[in-house]
C-alpha cells in the first residue's frame, strides 16, 4: 500500500534520476516488509483473545479434541448460560458495578474540586498541597495494603462495599493534576466577566469551569472506572465473603467443584472483561486521551 502511494510523491520532490527512484522503491520494499511485520504482530496480539472467545462458543467435548478448530463446529452458548445461572457472577457483577461507579464518582468529584482551588484560588498552604500531591507518586500503593487493612478493620468495613471503595480513593492525585492543568487554561477573561456578574466561587466552578471541561471529566471518569473495575489486589484482600466479591476476584477465587471446564472458566472471564471492553470500544478516543494525560503527555 505504502509503496504505491508514495512513489508519485517521491518523484515530484525534485526531478529525480531513474536510479534514485529505483533506490526509493527499494526502500519502500523495506517499508512494505515493516508493514507486513506490523500486521502479523497485530494478528499475533489479538489471537489469544479471539481464541478464548471462540473456545467459549464450542461444546466442551469439541474443545478437548485434538487439532485446531478456528471456528466452532457445533455452536453453543452453554458456557455462558451455565456461568450466568449457576454461579454467583450476577452478585459479583453488582458488587463490581457499585464499587467501581462509587470510586469513579468520588475520585472525579473530589479531584475536580481540589484541582479548581489549586488552579484558581489563593489560599495559605497551596504550594505545600501541590508538592504533596506531586510527591504522592513516590508512594507505591501496594505497600500500603497492610495499613489500609488495619484501617478498614478498625472501622469494621471488612467485607463491605465501603471497605473496597475507600482505599481506592488514593488514585486521586493524578486526576487533581490533570484538572488543575485544564482549569489553568480556561481564559482569564471569562473569570473576570463572571466576577463582574457577582458570581461566587461555587457558581464559577459549577457554571463555568466544570461545564467548559466536560470532555476531560468524561475521559477521567471512564479511565477511573476501568481502573476500579480491573482492581485485583485490594478487592481480593478486603473481601473474603463470596457474596461480597468483585467479579475479577470471584471468577479466579471460587472454582467449580467438578473439575476444569474450559469453556465455563473462559466464559466467566470474558463476562468479567466485557464491561470494560465495551466502554473502551465506545469511548476509544477519550480513553487514549486520558491515558496520555495521566502519563504527562498532552495528546
Amino acid at each position: 500500500m505504502s509503496s504505491v502511494a508514495s512513489t508519485p510523491a517521491a518523484g515530484e520532490i525534485a526531478g529525480l534520476s531513474p536510479r534514485r527512484r529505483k533506490l526509493i522503491n527499494a526502500l519502500n520494499i523495506g517499508g512494505l516488509i515493516a508493514t507486513v511485520i506490523t500486521v502479523l504482530g497485530a494478528i499475533f496480539w489479538a489471537f489469544p483473545l479471539y481464541w478464548a472467545v471462540v473456545t467459549t462458543l464450542k461444546v466442551e467435548n469439541d474443545i478437548v479434541q485434538p487439532g485446531i478448530q478456528l471456528w466452532p463446529q457445533r455452536f453453543t452458548l452453554d458456557a455462558y448460560t451455565h456461568v450466568l445461572f449457576n454461579t454467583k457472577i450476577g452478585t459479583w457483577y453488582i458488587n463490581s458495578l457499585v464499587t467501581a461507579v462509587s470510586v469513579t464518582v468520588l475520585v472525579v468529584m473530589i479531584s475536580a474540586l481540589a484541582g479548581y482551588a489549586i488552579s484558581q484560588l489563593r489560599f495559605p498552604g497551596r504550594r505545600i498541597l501541590w508538592w504533596i500531591i506531586l510527591a504522592s507518586f513516590m508512594i507505591p500503593i501496594p505497600a500500603l495494603i497492610v495499613n489500609h487493612f488495619v484501617l478498614i478493620s478498625q472501622f469494621k468495613l471488612f467485607n463491605t462495599w465501603l471497605g473496597v471503595i475507600l482505599p481506592q480513593l488514593v488514585y486521586g492525585p493524578v486526576t487533581v493534576i490533570i484538572y488543575k492543568q485544564f482549569f489553568d487554561s480556561v481564559p482569564k477573561e471569562l473569570r473576570e466577566a463572571a466576577t463582574i456578574d457577582n458570581a461566587n466561587e461555587f457558581q464559577m466552578f459549577f457554571r463555568l469551569y466544570l461545564p467548559m471541561n466536560w470532555g476531560i471529566t468524561t475521559a477521567l471518569a471512564i479511565i477511573t472506572f476501568i481502573g476500579a473495575w480491573n482492581q485485583f489486589l485490594w478487592p481480593f484482600l478486603a473481601v473474603t465473603d463470596e457474596q461480597m466479591m468483585n467479579v475479577t476476584v470471584g471468577i479466579t477465587q471460587v472454582t467449580d467443584a467438578f473439575g476444569v471446564k474450559y469453556a465455563r472458566d473462559l466464559g466467566s472471564a470474558i463476562l468479567a472483561g466485557l464491561p470494560v471492553a465495551i466502554v473502551y470500544l465506545i469511548f476509544q478516543r477519550r480513553v487514549t486521551e486520558a491515558i496520555m494525560l495521566s502519563a504527562g503527555i498532552k495528546g
Binding site: 489479538a46 483473545l49 482551588a117 497551596r126 504533596i132 507505591p140 492543568q181 472458566d265
Partner: protein
C-alpha cells in the same frame, strides 16, 4: 506522572500576596474532601507503615517496639532474598523489552494510515484495558498443559507437553511475556504520541539528502523520541516493581515460595502469617525502591526539559 514539567506551575509570588478571606474560605471547602481523603488514606497509612516496621505486631492489634529487629531479619530471611531477586528479575524481563518492542511497534503503526492504523493499534491496545483475571484465564488456556494451543509448538522443542507455569525456570519468563502482551498498549500509545510530534519536514529534508532509513532513525527519530523513551521506561520500572496479580494467579494462588515477589511477601507475612510488623518492613523496602526510581525519573525528565510536547 511526569512531575518535572508541572512542579513549577504554582507561581512563587502567590505567597507574597495578601489573602482574601472569602477566597480562602471557599478554597477550604473545595480542598477539604481531598485533604481529608489524602490524610486518612495516604499520609496516615504511610506513617503507620513506617512505625509498624519497627514493631513486632500481629496484623490487627497492638505490637511491641523492637527497634531495627525486623530490618535485621530481612537479611537473614531467605524468602526476602528470593522475593527481592524475583522482583528484580521480573523487572529486568519486562521493563526494557516492553519499552523497546513498543517503540518498534509504534514506528510500524505510525507508517500506516486511516482505519487500518486504528484497527492495528486497537489489536495491540485492547489487552491493556482488560482485568488481570481475563489475562490469567486467556493465557492459562493458551499454555494449558493438556489442550493448550501452544503445546504442539512447545512439544516441537521440548519433545512433549510442558506444564509451563509449574516449571520453575520457565515461570518468570512466561509471566513476563504475558505481562508484556497485556500492558504494551500503554507504551505504544505514548510512543505514537511522541512520534506524531516529530515534524514531518525533518524527514522530508533527510530523504532529499538521500539519508538511509536506518540513519534517519539513528539521527532523527531516536534522539527526538528519547524523552518519551525515558518516560516509558521509568513508568515501567516503577509499575513492574509492584508486581503481584499475575505472578500470584499463575503461581497457583501463590502457594509456591519460589515464585514470590515483594508485594506477595508483604501479603504472605502480614495476612497469611499474621506478622504485620514484618509485612510493613518489606513494604518500607518496596517504598524506598520506588522513591529511588521516582527521583531518578524526575531528574532524568528534568534534565531533558520535560517531555517533548
Amino acid at each position: 506522572m511526569s512531575a518535572a514539567d508541572i512542579a513549577s506551575d504554582v507561581p512563587s509570588k502567590a505567597r507574597k500576596r495578601r489573602f482574601n478571606t472569602r477566597e480562602v474560605l471557599a478554597a477550604l471547602v473545595f480542598v477539604l474532601p481531598f485533604v481529608l481523603v489524602y490524610a486518612v488514606l495516604f499520609i496516615y497509612p504511610t506513617i503507620q507503615m513506617i512505625l509498624l516496621s519497627f514493631q513486632k505486631a500481629p496484623l490487627i492489634g497492638a505490637g511491641t517496639w523492637v527497634g531495627f529487629d525486623n530490618y535485621a531479619k530481612l537479611f537473614k530471611d531467605k524468602l526476602f532474598g528470593v522475593a527481592f531477586w524475583n522482583t528484580v528479575y521480573f523487572v529486568a524481563l519486562t521493563a526494557v523489552p516492553s519499552t523497546l518492542l513498543a517503540l518498534a511497534i509504534a514506528i510500524g503503526i505510525n507508517r500506516l494510515k486511516g482505519w487500518v492504523q486504528s484497527l492495528i493499534l486497537a489489536c495491540f491496545f485492547i489487552p491493556y484495558i482488560l482485568p488481570v483475571s481475563v489475562v490469567f484465564r486467556v493465557w492459562g488456556w493458551m499454555f494449558d498443559s493438556q489442550f493448550g494451543i501452544l503445546q504442539p509448538l512447545i512439544a516441537l522443542v521440548a519433545g512433549g507437553n510442558v506444564p509451563v507455569f509449574r516449571t520453575l525456570p520457565l515461570f518468570m519468563p512466561t509471566v513476563a511475556f504475558i505481562t508484556i502482551w497485556w500492558t504494551i498498549g500503554f507504551n505504544i500509545l505514548l510512543f505514537i504520541a511522541g512520534l506524531r510530534n516529530i515534524s514531518p519536514e525533518i524527514y522530508e529534508a533527510a530523504s532529499i539528502d538521500g539519508t538511509s532509513k536506518w540513519r534517519q532513525f539513528a539521527r532523527i527519530t531516536w534522539p527526538l523520541i528519547w524523552p518519551v523513551t525515558v518516560l516509558v521506561l521509568t513508568i515501567q520500572l516503577i509499575a513492574q516493581f509492584k508486581i503481584f496479580d499475575q505472578v500470584y494467579l499463575f503461581g497457583n494462588g501463590g502457594r509456591s515460595d519460589a515464585t514470590m515477589g515483594l508485594v506477595q511477601l508483604i501479603y504472605r507475612s502480614a495476612f497469611q502469617k499474621n506478622n504485620g510488623g514484618y509485612g510493613a518492613t518489606v513494604a518500607v523496602v518496596l517504598f524506598l525502591v520506588i522513591v529511588v526510581f521516582s527521583v531518578l525519573q524526575f531528574q532524568l525528565l528534568r534534565a531533558r526539559g520535560g517531555d517533548n510536547k
